[in-house]
Symmetry: D2
Subunit: 350 residues, 4 copies
């Protein structure tokens, strides 16, 4: 049944498969008057695109976003905005050997169990290719938030066990890992190279930081801002965990440590991560997502075929060694989409 939409007031519906004509999104609920052109998508799409670093998969579509509707003379008019990103580099051949075997760690097995088939041509709807549509939608979300000074940054807090010790947002887009700490960039690169040489892969942690968010966004019960951020972030394939503010660390704090004292000029600390009772408190919203190591590895793996018989799978070809850098703009997009939805909800009558 219908399950490809997200959001209530700012609502996106994505479509497209990894090996079809392309992927896209319809954004329903974008306010009128937002300047928007196809060029606005270029930089963010480039950040998600594979082929940026030597260790990435060389599949390298330009990922040009076409606007089919909702914009007139460079400005949104309040009607649905349809975006389309054509697939370019579709070679189904390399995947043909996978027609029979389930790749461990991928959705092949569960897809097959659910639908009686799976899309051996690269994951179909479960493919990370779908997230290109989210990044495009996220660009629009960020264009809505920019004039009200809500800004979203995302970066690689940790990859392969190497953790950024300082957060310098200016550094993020000056290295291929979107790492905010220049001091550890080389170490990240080494860990990545080592894993790649071993035919293995690595995971990491992405942090998203939202500044300028006014107090009052989010609903007190099910549609807590934190709950919708959790759903949005966890709906991205490789994410296995999300925490806000002190997160799992809060489990070991005392109340006297974890409570953020309130002063006339703001909160003294931010263990809350900017959200109290599901509603933004005006402080920075900080969340972290755990990214699992990419399941496509070059090492032989134990698996079964469609008939349930044991098999060994050794993937060939070239794959990303970590999903982490490319997932950074995706999580940024999802955070922006959730924020806009709640921002627009907060602008209703009450």
């Amino acid at each position: 049944m219908a399950a490809n939409s997200f959001g209530k007031v700012f609502r996106i519906t994505t479509f497209g498969e990894s090996h079809g004509k392309g992927v896209g999104a319809v954004i329903d609920g974008c306010p009128p008057g937002i300047p928007l052109s196809e060029d606005d998508f270029v930089s963010e799409m480039a950040r998600r695109r594979p082929g940026r670093t030597p260790v990435d998969t060389p599949r390298s579509e330009p990922d040009r976003v076409e606007i089919f509707s909702g914009v007139f003379e460079g400005v949104t008019v309040g009607t649905p905005i349809a975006l389309f990103i054509r697939n370019q580099d579709v070679k189904s051949a390399p995947y043909e050997i996978l027609r029979r075997l389930f790749r461990p760690g991928h959705a092949d097995y569960t897809y097959f169990k659910k639908y009686g088939h799976f899309d051996f041509r690269g994951g179909g709807r479960s493919s990370a290719r779908e997230t290109a549509a989210r990044v495009a939608a996220g660009v629009i979300a960020q264009k809505i938030l920019a004039p009200v000074e809500i800004r979203i940054a995302a970066y690689t807090l940790e990859m392969g066990g190497i953790r950024a010790e300082h957060i310098d947002l200016d550094a993020v887009h000056k290295n291929p890992f979107y790492c905010p700490d220049v001091a550890v960039v080389d170490k990240m690169g080494e860990v990545l190279s080592r894993a790649r040489e071993a035919g293995d892969s690595i995971g990491g942690i992405v942090e998203v930081r939202i500044t300028g968010c006014p107090a009052g966004l989010g609903e007190p019960v099910f549609d807590k801002l934190s709950a919708d951020l959790a759903k949005g972030v966890m709906s991205v394939g490789a994410v296995k965990g999300i925490e806000i503010g002190a997160g799992f660390g809060a489990a070991r704090l005392k109340g006297s440590q974890n409570n953020d004292p309130i002063t006339p000029t703001g909160f003294v600390t931010n263990h809350a991560g900017g959200i109290l009772g599901g509603i933004s408190n005006g402080d920075d919203i900080v969340l972290r997502a755990a990214i699992k190591p990419i399941p496509s590895i070059m090492m032989a793996q134990e698996t079964i075929d469609r008939e349930g018989r044991p098999a060994r799978l050794k993937l060939e070809g070239r794959f990303d060694t970590s999903a982490v850098p490319r997932i950074v703009p995706v999580l940024k997009a999802m955070a922006a989409i959730v924020l806009v939805d709640h921002y627009l909800r907060s602008k209703s009558l009450w």
Copy 2:
């Protein structure tokens, strides 16, 4: 705007405030033919109820659930089931001193910023009292899942830094902390007492384990089973993080370590936590939620009043020292509600 419902096919809407006539839920989408009586709610409601242990708040409503509709001759008929739980022990007086001050760590401040008022009588809609309605709805969810052998267990994995080393489900309901490891129950009690004596509070980690779930539940894009579980769990007040399977630990694993080998008899390991690509894989679904220390502490705290002037707040009265044990049945309920929703969705035509 309307934001008090959760679920698509099995849809719950909760209502009620902490100090009004009561709280309740309407469950829309419960299949017919499920045996249901008011007695079915007793044991689960008792688990959520305050006043179970010497260190809990003594507010102790019986929390009797009334069924107003949807059941005829002891069996559901497929129509909406309205449940109501009357508030009994409502004394607004102790909270009157809070009329002016925001309690740090509570939703008072954000509520005030959002609505221009806050319910000083115990949190209003943001109160944990609302979760009584969720527990009641969760009982029905579990009654739907039981015949198909999907069973949900929840327990205190960690409290105040004391972690269960063994998971013995039989032990869970034999101690007041719902701890699955008898060997650490006393230590948990000590930590809790010590915090209480200091006027402080402690947090912890709740683990939910779902057994018997068939492969195929969950949708591949936004409505991943993991994403809906994340939203459901994170929509509970004190939760600051959620992880599935290896969770944040996966961020430091290699692909060769994290991938669960597949054999004809099942997965060799369960780093996935029972969910691949957002769809259940037939293995146990395992999730953990980080619970922050309860913000109501007896120690003096820095805060501000409604006019933004600095103030010191020292709460009096008796409060829970940890939300952890009481939140166990709430998270169990939320997991059950999400599971039923996806279970029923999986039973549609395709």
Copy 3:
């Protein structure tokens, strides 16, 4: 699946069966600050109640509305408002003879085909009893609309072929048929009595007139104000048609006749019925609903039993002779609910 809610921003969920404990509604999305007490429901509930005229069914619950949540110190607080109306006069006995036979014109047959059973105790969820919850929700909707001068009137335009020639809103509540033309009230009564003596029933037309509605309510595509009014009105059991403005008459007009000329002081005519392109134009919104004759008649009817064998059914007991007067407040409520939903939607950011 979940199908008992209506509205997007002002969302009502009804529950309850004709012969259970009662019926009710949860209203999610009512703005805060609306004065509301249980007394506010009395007059409108009385209008829907049976037993008002000698020819009505004597089942006469007081239909007292209880407020369970969402109101504090006489004012709504923005949280869900749960309303409950207990069933009082439940005698299942008279209907026992219907356990086997489908009543022509009722939902017995279709209910049975859909669910494998039907509620012989008076229609269950299909019973007109459910509309009591809608009337209660409509009272709240009207309390929101009143301060902004949007007013809704509903009346019997025609019953048993007798049509009101003049619309005098002051007359409506001074006769038991809610007829706006005192000159035809007696004739309506005669037709009704005659039908009743014959053991037969009659239909009619209810007109709803909304004054004071500003231009701009409604969405241009699917959620046209007209489309939502159509759904709301047609979702009431006995309604078999709805038209807006010139309605079916417009099918025989020329464009030069049907177009409403626009002048600086407003529209010269109102063939549009106050809605153009699905959006309110500031003129009175006028709609008419066709009400079928009540299917419960005292004359012998041809039918079948559950096993499909032919049978003759002769109902005994006392039933309404026409649904028309009692349906007037129900359609008024549905119109108010639709209007509030769109009114609140129009108050969002854009």
Copy 4:
């Protein structure tokens, strides 16, 4: 806010404006395994297309439907289906004179009041152009219904006061008016020509007849099959009324006349129009929609400009003289979309 979607399980979202790049739809919830190619849309799109008869507007895009996703090797795969229809013949010039004046009977005035602007280039989102996307979506709906023998016919029951006396479905597509009665086709043509020569326009009535629908589709309360059909049909621009079965005629029948007797072989009559209590009864579903005369006429009309000053408007160019024939495939599509939605809902677990 998001308001461009329709349906719950089979959910369509349309996008596109009359003078942008094109219009389209995303269908979310189409089951897998339905054969589908771009050629499948040709005949139905041709029926909606202008320029079929001498009296129609000569704007004549080929209206080729492109499939962007959801189909693999000629068969749907269960993922969202994105359809796109490029606008071809976009000349904004003729409408430039309308930049200042509101066309009576059109949405210009209400659009302006709602959004502060209106799309003088042909109605924008309110344009009938948007219905091309609905017709395309309806083709898919009908492909789902065909194998289960649910068939939908639509035809011009009446135009300009000329009414079909016999319903011969074979005749419908053999005349440009989609009139099911060959005996009145010429008369319809004469009325149409006469109106056109006078610079005027005419309305009519479209009837939709659904055969083969099993009993049991529709929900008992708000989501009655009749209510959803009413919304779907009324959401089409020119529709001012809808009735089911005896419709407004039922208002003047007695219960003894209107009730359809039930026999072992079916209903003796069909005043119910195939729907009882909102649920299909297995008989033909019959509905009629009142179509207003097209508001674009060549005669001078009284109106105002954007500043509210009186003006006279005399349209030039060529317009359809009646919306009736072209609306026939649109209403057929909407009926199909509603039917599929409820058909799929009826296939869920209960």
